[in-house]
């Protein structure tokens, strides 16, 4: 018996040798079985806590004025609020790097952080009405770049060696007094004001950018497809009808007290338990969701606004979202995008103020007319 076992193990080890390269140990995927997994509350190890408890400092008015003056001389005047990029040039910022390589298919470039500012209709050239969501690329700067060797995420995908670097992008400049000293230290390298929101984008090392580089809406082109990741609207504890779209039960015909309930959740017998993933009442919304393959209809380069097709981008109005090139294989761009990003200093011709996709009707175009078919 033991002999058989020994031979078996030797065969196994032999077959292991035949396997190509890397040893794969499978880790249980957390939350994979859940339909609606809880949001991960893991704080990145390298990122200090941003906010502290605000208490009354009793700072004299002269000193408050002095602090404001110092911040302004160092970072420039605060934004007007209409999404203009702050014109301040940080003393630490280096010259933007020239693109070292041409774009090739399969290369990944950075994304941007955008603010959802509303929804309104647009018309296509064939007369159909579509709803578009307005996304404002709000004061985006590159904060830090981590090379593939340096970048070690908390959850590693199996044991495959990481080939992608990580670029940290920040959005919406804030008053440094609102943050902790440690958090403000994160922005020393890039020399920009502390940002309200930071985002992590995995990029190919060729697409790396110098810290302090601003990102604009012209990073994308109209007609491109993007993925948008945002936190959905928090709807609180909801029943099955609202949360999962159940039908409910009749209003009358002898039904009592079970008009909006889910009904049966499983049978007894051999498996007398509730099956995992059963749709039941619970907390709805406030989850990170990715919406893939959204088309860009129009871009305004003055106010850095992107019009994306569809009204159903996750999140409330005035919430921040991540936008990056789509991962859907059929919707990837065939022509070169702005690589590694749109840099006005490098670009020969500055882009126009309004960029439109081909099939979108511009508001200052003449009325749409249909031509009669001639047989």
């Amino acid at each position: 018996m033991s002999l058989i076992l020994k031979t078996l193990t030797s065969i196994q080890s032999f077959s292991n040798l035949l396997k190509p390269g890397i040893e794969v140990t499978t880790l249980a995927k957390r939350g994979a079985k859940r339909l609606n997994p809880y949001p991960k509350k893991r704080h990145p190890g390298w990122l200090p806590r941003p906010t502290h408890v605000l208490y009354k400092d009793d700072i004299t008015p002269e000193n408050t004025k002095f602090i404001k003056e110092v911040v302004e001389t160092r970072f420039g005047k605060p934004d007007v609020g209409l999404g203009m990029q702050s014109k301040s040039i940080s003393p630490l910022r280096n010259e933007p790097i020239e693109p070292q390589t041409e774009w090739k298919e399969g290369m990944r470039r950075t994304g941007v952080i955008a603010k959802k500012i509303g929804v309104y209709p647009m018309w296509l050239k064939d007369g159909t009405k579509v709803l578009s969501t307005l996304l404002q690329v709000i004061d985006n700067h590159v904060i830090r770049y981590m090379s593939p060797e340096e970048y070690a995420p908390v959850i590693q995908r199996n044991n495959i060696r990481n080939r992608l670097g990580c670029l940290i992008v920040g959005a919406e400049s804030m008053d440094p007094q609102l943050f902790t000293k440690e958090y403000c230290g994160v922005f020393n390298e890039s020399g920009v004001l502390p940002k309200r929101m930071l985002g992590r984008f995995l990029i190919s090392p060729n697409a790396a950018l110098q810290p302090g580089t601003p990102l604009y809406a012209a990073h994308f082109k109209p007609g491109d497809y993007v993925d948008i990741r945002g936190k959905t609207i928090d709807r609180g504890f909801q029943g099955v009808m609202k949360r999962w779209g159940f039908k409910g039960m009749p209003a009358s015909h002898g039904v009592t007290k079970t008009h909006r309930r889910g009904g049966n959740i499983g049978s007894g017998g051999t498996k007398a338990r509730v099956m995992p993933g059963t749709k039941m009442p619970g907390h709805m919304g406030n989850r990170w969701r990715v919406f893939r393959g959204i088309r860009i209809l129009r871009i305004n380069t003055k106010y850095n606004v992107i019009w994306a097709l569809g009204p159903h981008i996750p999140g409330e109005t005035n919430s921040l979202l991540y936008m990056y090139d789509t991962v859907l294989p059929t919707r990837k761009p065939s022509t070169a995008p702005h690589f590694p990003t749109y840099l006005p200093s490098i670009q020969e011709n500055p882009v126009e103020e309004e960029l439109w996709a081909e099939d979108v009707h511009r508001f200052d175009d003449p009325c749409i007319e249909f031509i009669e078919e001639t047989k």
Binding site: P121, G127, Q136, N300, D364, C367, I368, E369, F370
Partner: protein
């Protein structure tokens, strides 16, 4: 009578103020004949109209940009704070002005009679014209829309149009007037003659600078059943609504007399004066220029016409 109306409109510009007055009377007489109401319907007298005029806004340009809110209510954003964003509102207004520079969207109110020409891929000539009374105006920004109602071949027809839809080729205001209510949805339950308008109606011209006339016509509803509980709506344009005792009691129970005093409810429904000033200061000059060009065009049109007929 049509000829007289045309002539009076054409010559009216050049004539003296006195002559104008007399012509106005003549025109109002002509207008009465044109109306499609049956003889039993009382037509508002000249005096009653002028009483109401004092409240209404002066036509064309007004000294105060704030008065624009009656003429262009769609420029005010949705007051719901969850949906508001100053940049989006600004961009939306810019798009609205871009569209307005391409198509002449006239001043109109609920109760005005409009003719809308749209490019329609289904129609044989690829364009379609509909005439009707505006019974509702809603939506803000680029979503602004209005409903036209007419009775064609004894069949009530209603069409919903979007104001900024690029397939709309032309919007004509055939008769500019206001009614007593903000919504005329009760015309669905009124006799047909109140919403019957001829498709080849001539546009009526109101002299510049006069306020928009308010038509204080009161309709009588058809007997029940109705589409809505009209007795609860506090309608000014409907003559004595009579319902049975039970419905009367229920209507009384559903009354909310405190709502007109609810200051915060009103505040949450409106855009404050300061914000309105900002909004209209941005678009006022453009709107004003468009208004002037439209009036010029109108004048040219009216001068050309007699030559054609002659």
């Amino acid at each position: 009578m049509h000829g007289a109306l045309k002539m009076s409109a054409a010559v009216g510009r050049v004539l003296s103020q006195q002559m104008r007055q007399s012509l106005k009377v003549l025109k109002s007489l002509a207008g009465k004949k044109n109306r499609c109401f049956s003889a039993s319907v009382p037509i508002p007298k000249e005096g009653s109209v002028s009483n109401n005029e004092q409240k209404s806004v002066n036509r064309g340009k007004s000294a105060d940009p704030l008065e624009c809110r009656f003429m262009y209510p769609e420029f005010l954003p949705d007051p719901k704070p969850e949906y508001r964003n100053s940049l989006r509102e600004k961009l939306e207004r810019a798009d609205m002005m871009a569209r307005r520079s391409k198509i002449d969207i006239p001043e109109f109110y609920v109760g005005s009679i409009l003719a809308v020409t749209v490019s329609d891929p289904h129609a044989p000539g690829k364009s379609n014209r509909f005439v009707g009374i505006c019974i509702k105006r809603s939506g803000c920004g680029l979503r602004a829309n209005f409903i036209l109602r007419n009775v064609v071949d004894n069949q009530g027809v209603e069409v919903l149009y979007e104001l900024y839809d690029p397939t709309i080729q032309k919007i004509d205001c055939l008769r500019l007037e206001k009614r007593l209510d903000n919504e005329l949805l009760y015309l669905r339950d009124a006799p047909e003659e109140y919403s019957t308008f001829s498709f080849d109606m001539e546009p009526e011209i109101i002299p510049e600078g006069t306020p928009v006339p308010v038509n204080d016509l009161k309709v009588t509803l058809k007997p029940q059943p109705w589409l809505e509980k009209w007795e609860r709506k506090d309608l000014k344009g409907v003559r004595d609504i009579v319902v049975n005792q039970k419905r009367e009691m229920k209507a009384k129970a559903a009354l909310k007399p405190w709502e007109k005093y609810d200051l915060m409810k009103i505040y949450r429904e409106t855009i404050p004066e300061e914000e309105q000033k900002e909004i209209f200061a941005e678009v006022y000059s453009d709107l004003h220029n468009l208004e002037i060009t439209r009036q010029k065009m109108k004048r040219q049109r009216t001068f050309i016409r007699p030559k054609k007929s002659g």
